[in-house]
């Protein structure tokens, strides 16, 4: 068989399977009818407009944005010093620390959410909101540490030593030499953390309640009751948002170098 032809057939089929469903979702969202269907019954933008009018979507979008932005920032505040120490100092028990910090990746999210609810929120009487925030922070922490460590490893230690010799304090050297040089890594960690948190479902499952839901959880709840194309429209918008963020990041900082 012609190998060029078979190459394109294989890739065509793979891409149809991987990306085709999105095209179908976008088409279904453009429907003028009231039921989710493909091919769509007539064309209109009404479901894209409806998305912005659903009160619960607006509220849960706010919650998800807050968690993704501030959860990632909190994870960076914890993660950057840890990454700095692990790449610059001989930390006693470094392997154990690494394992502890990366444990949120190993433990499935639903278990984390349940454990936090049952043995943290309920006994302490804390609110679900703070717990949800802490859970997202913990979830992003491993990514923050890993990505930032990688870019610190690429930064030569002599530059800091030179700054110290020239009279900088430790902190001054960190602020003036290290931080500016790992800007790309920080941004990459932020984007990775943001997307991870925003798309996360299992961790939030048990840590949600009426009035406090993340957007993906709200979408699942909505589609259990309604069979209209608004979730399709919302899915399409979210897909464009994440793909747009990642593309911009790739273009400006070369995200894939860091991840």
């Amino acid at each position: 068989m012609n190998s060029r032809l078979s190459t394109w057939i294989i890739l065509g089929l793979t891409l149809t399977f991987l990306i085709g469903p999105f095209l179908i979702i976008i088409a279904a969202a453009l429907s003028a009818g009231n039921n989710l269907a493909f091919p769509p019954q007539g064309l209109s933008l009404k479901w894209f407009i409806k998305v912005f009018e659903v009160e619960s979507f607006r509220a849960s979008f706010g919650v998800s944005m807050f968690l993704a932005i501030f959860g990632t920032l909190a994870a960076l505040v914890l993660g950057v010093p840890a990454a700095y120490a692990m790449t610059r100092y001989r930390v006693p028990g470094a392997e154990t620390v690494k394992l502890i910090v990366s444990s949120p990746i190993i433990v499935p999210g639903i278990i984390v959410g349940l454990a936090l609810l049952q043995y943290f929120v309920i006994p302490i009487g804390a609110g679900i909101g703070p717990a949800l925030f802490l859970a997202h922070t913990a979830l992003i922490l491993p990514y923050a540490v890993r990505v930032v460590s990688a870019s610190m490893e690429n930064l030569r230690v002599d530059m800091e030593e030179a700054a110290l010799l020239l009279g900088c304090t430790r902190f001054g050297a960190f602020r003036r030499v290290v931080l500016p040089n790992i800007r790309g890594g920080l941004l990459a960690a932020f984007i990775l953390g943001f997307v991870t948190s925003f798309n996360q479902v299992p961790v939030s499952l048990f840590l949600s309640g009426p009035g406090l839901r993340t957007l993906p959880i709200d979408m699942i709840a909505y589609m259990e009751i309604n069979y209209d194309p608004s979730v399709a429209a919302l899915s399409a918008l979210l897909a464009f948002m994440s793909v747009g963020i990642v593309f911009a990041a790739e273009r400006f900082i070369g995200l894939s170098r860091y991840v």
């Binding site: 120490a85 430790r170 979408m219």
Partner: protein, 275 residues
């Protein structure tokens, strides 16, 4: 490398304490739940969990679907990765980007698409009825097939990424050399490509297998309560029956799986570094 250990430790501690207090402690208590009884410690909860035929079904279904997804994604992944690696350099990066694109999109959106495609009034059924292949729409949603398709679409990109990076490290002339020496494509695959990309296959396979085992959204939306997997069973046991003992057993199974997968990957990574 700076020598002061105290500073290093002080910088690491906040992150370590945070993760330990919020993660290890609550999760540890949850795991211990299955071992605690009124009279002391015991492992009987595990026996009881596996004595139930429903739990057995869910456990083996989860293993079966995860293995199936890993196996099929390996077959498809090899074909796709080989095709990508052999593209001209200009289109290779673009194709790789397209294949990894779905990874950035919310799994809810990715799973939701299959409702439109596989539902009773969905695209596939309309097609089948119009062609006269079937008179009444088939029930595809809420079957293992639907969950399998959803998981495959979710995790196939991970397999392709692993295999592409393994193939890029393969000596450039290995395949043409084998062809010139008279090997057919099956022999080329078994004796050249497979041994040279074994590591990528293990990495991809582990990611896909553990990912499918611990998936929640796909079985929840495409399987519902008819096709429970371990995570959806856990959710149901807790919300419907307040059954923390079963939840604890399931948590142990999932964590053991994902921890051993992680160890395996770490060992592979260090083996590669020392080479």
């Amino acid at each position: 490398m700076f020598e002061n250990r105290a500073i290093g430790l002080a910088l690491v501690l906040p992150a370590a304490i945070f993760a330990a207090a919020l993660f290890l402690l609550p999760v540890g208590i949850l795991l211990s739940e299955a071992f605690r009884t009124d009279t002391g410690w015991s492992v009987s909860a595990y026996g009881e969990f596996f004595a139930s035929s429903r739990n057995q079904t869910v456990f083996f279904r989860t293993l079966k679907l995860a293995s199936l997804v890993a196996g099929v994604s390996a077959v498809v992944g090899y074909a796709a990765a080989f095709a990508i690696v052999n593209l001209p350099a200009s289109s290779r990066g673009r194709m790789f980007g397209l294949v990894t694109l779905p990874l950035m999109i919310s799994p809810v959106a990715r799973t939701y698409a299959w409702l439109v495609i596989l539902g009773r009034t969905g695209f596939v059924n309309k097609f089948l009825v119009d062609l006269g292949i079937t008179d009444t729409p088939l029930r595809i949603l809420f079957t293992e097939t639907a969950v399998f398709i959803g998981l495959l679409q979710l995790f196939l990109p991970l397999m392709i990424i692993s295999l592409v990076s393994a193939m890029e490290n393969m000596p450039r002339d290995a395949v043409p050399a084998a062809r010139i020496l008279g090997a057919n494509w099956l022999q080329v695959f078994w004796r050249v490509i497979l041994p040279l990309t074994r590591e990528g296959l293990v990495i991809g396979g582990t990611l896909v297998f553990t990912g499918s085992m611990t998936a929640y959204i796909t079985p929840a939306i495409l399987g519902g309560s008819k096709v429970l997997m371990l995570e959806t069973l856990l959710y149901q046991r807790v919300t419907v029956a307040n059954d923390f003992v079963s939840a604890s057993v399931i948590a142990m199974i999932l964590i053991t799986m994902s921890f051993s997968a992680n160890l395996l990957l770490k060992r592979l990574a260090t083996a590669r570094k020392s080479r």
